[in-house]
Symmetry: C2
Amino acid sequence: MSNSAGIVSAQRATFDTPLVFRSGAVLPSYELVYETYGTLNDAKSNAILICHALSGNHHVAGRYANDPENVGWWDNMVGPGKPVDTGKFFVIGLNNLGGCHGSTGPSSLNPETGQPYGTGFPVVTVEDWVESQARLADRLGIKQFAAVMGGSLGGMQALQWSLSFPERVRHVLVIAAAPHLTAENIAFNDVARNAILTDPDFHGGNFYQHGVVPTRGLRLARMLGHITYLSDDAMADKFGRSLRSGKLGYNYGIEFEIESYLRYQGDKFAAYFDANTYLLMTKALDYFDPARACDDNLDKAFADARADFLVVSFTTDWRFAPERSREIVSALLHNRRNVSYAEISSAHGHDSFLMQHEHYHNVMRVYLERIATEFSA
Amino acid sequence: MSNSAGIVSAQRATFDTPLVFRSGAVLPSYELVYETYGTLNDAKSNAILICHALSGNHHVAGRYANDPENVGWWDNMVGPGKPVDTGKFFVIGLNNLGGCHGSTGPSSLNPETGQPYGTGFPVVTVEDWVESQARLADRLGIKQFAAVMGGSLGGMQALQWSLSFPERVRHVLVIAAAPHLTAENIAFNDVARNAILTDPDFHGGNFYQHGVVPTRGLRLARMLGHITYLSDDAMADKFGRSLRSGKLGYNYGIEFEIESYLRYQGDKFAAYFDANTYLLMTKALDYFDPARACDDNLDKAFADARADFLVVSFTTDWRFAPERSREIVSALLHNRRNVSYAEISSAHGHDSFLMQHEHYHNVMRVYLERIATEFSA
C-alpha cells in the first residue's frame, strides 16, 4: 500500500459554454467528474491526462475512504514510485462525456426536459472528447500536458490530442490502439450494439422511464467484448476445455469453465453499465479515423503533430494487433516525429495494457522518467 | 450447367430401431432426409458420404425442378467432372439428425406428444450423428464408404467415422476442421447460444406453440458466426471502412457496409433456420473431442483408425487455424496412417472450404481421382 495513490475523491467541473459536437449537435452545458493524484507544480508543467477505454472511468488509482475495495482501474500503473509516478506528476483521470460514472451522459437528466437524455444524448466522437478534456485543462490552468496517455480507445484520445491541440501536449503515449477500426472490429461492435438495440427492454434508449434495463443485450455485448480482449492462447491457458462439474451435462446450462467466466463477466457488467453509454463508446471507436479527412493518408493526418510519442503494442492482441500500432509509428516517422515503439511479448491479448507486466511497466517507467527530467531540470 | 449434378430430389428414410444418444436419451424412431448424386456401382464400393457443417443440409449439389435457384451448397465441389466426380462416385448428402431441413429435429412433431420436440429433442453429439449415418449406409447397402468427407463440423464427423467405424471408411477427407474446439471457439458459441436462449421469443425452446420465432437471437448468432467465418483481411478487402451513404450519420442505423452485410446475413438466416437446431449444432461442436476419453492424448484417440486421410486447412482460417489441422495430421502420423496434408493459401478465412479455389479444388480432385482408381481397378 506504500506505493498506492491512497485515499482519493472525485471532483466535479461544470461547463456552461455550449459544446458543439462533430455531429452538429450542441450540448448547452455539461459536467465532468475527475480525480487527480499528485501535485501540480508551480509551472503547471507536470500534468498527465489519462484517457479511459470503453468501460473505464475517472477512478484511475487509489481507493475511496468509504469504499476501500474499489481500487482504481490502472492502480498498478499510477501511484508513488509507479511508472506514472505521482511523486513527480500531477495525474488527471476523468469520466468521458457520455459516460455513466458521473459525467454528463445519456442517463443524466436533460435540464430542458427533466428526463434522462437517453438516445437524445449526442453521439460523441474522440474529437469531441478531446475538446471537452481541453476545457477541463483550461479550468485547471494547464496550458500544456507533459503527457496524454491511454490504452485502446484511451490511446485514440491521446493520439487525437496531438492532432487537435498539437501545442498543448509534449508527449503522447498510445498503448494497444489503432489508427482506426478494421471492418472486423466494426463488425464486433455492430453485433454488440444490435444485442442492446434489439433487447425489448431497451425501449429505443428510453428504458429509464420504463424502470427496466436492457440486461440481456448488455450482457451479450460484454461477453462478446471479453472474447476480443483476451487471446486464444490466454483463454486456452486459463480455461481450456475444463468442465464446471467435471462431466458433460448435455443441456444448455453452464458446462465449460469459459462459459461460466463469460456469463459472470456479462452479469457483472450489465448490473452497473449504462446501455446508451455502451452504444456511444462503440460508435466513437468506429468513427475514429484521423486519416479519413486526408484521403485515407495517415502520414498527412499527422502533419501538424508536434509531440513526441511512445507507442506500445502487445504480441497477442488480435483486436488491435501490433501491425496496427506500427501503422501509427510509420506515419509519425514519416513526419519526423520522435517515436519510441515497444512491442511487448504478452499472452494476455488486448487486456495486457491493464495488467502488471514487468517489461511493459519498465518501458513505461523509463519513458516517463525521461519526461520528468524535462520539467524538473 | 453441363457439369451440374442436374435436377435432384430429396429422399427420406425412416428408422424404427431406437437410437440411444451419448447423453443417454433415446429416440424411438426418426427420419433422415438425403440426396444422392451419381450411381452406386455393383460392388457398392464407390460411395462418398458428405457431412454438413452447422447450417448445412442434404442439398449438396444440383438443383430442384420446382426451385431452380436453389443450388446445392457444395455444387462447386460435387458434380460430373468436378473434384467429387459424380460420373465416378455415388455421393450422398443428408440432413443431420436434429436439423431443420427435413430430418427429425426439434421442430418435428414428437409422436408421443403430438407437439414439436423443442428443447426436448436430445442433445446430439458427433458420435450420435455418425451412428445415425451408419444406419443410412446400411439401408443403402453400403458396407464401406470409399470416402467420408466434410468441412468444419462436417470434417469432425468424417474424423469420427474413422473412430466409430474404422472398417467402414477407406478414406477420410477433413477440411477446415479441428480435433476439438478451443476455449475461444466455445466462447463464441456460448455468446451465440445465449443470444437465442435469452430472447424472450425463445420461450424455453417451445416458441413453436407460441407462434413466434426468436428472430433477435438467431440474427445475433448468425452475425457473430459470420465474423468468425471470414478473415480480418477478407473483410477489409470486401468492406473496409466504406460507408453505406458516403457520410457518417451519427446514429445507430446502418453506417458502414460491413454492418449492412452482417444484418442482411442475420435477417436471411433468422427467416429460415430453427433456433433449437442452432443450439444443438453448436453443442455438438463444443462436445467433439475424441482425445477426452484418452487422457487428452489425440495419438491414442486415433489408435484404431484404419482409413487413409486427406487433411486440408486454409491460411487465413482463424476459427480452425492450420495449426489445428496439423494436430490431426501429427496424431495420425504417430499412428502410421497414410496422411496427405494441404495448407491452402486463401484470403477467405474459414469460409474458404465452400469456395471455388483452383489450388484447393485441384488438391481435392487429385486425391479423389486416386480413390477412384482403387475401385475401378
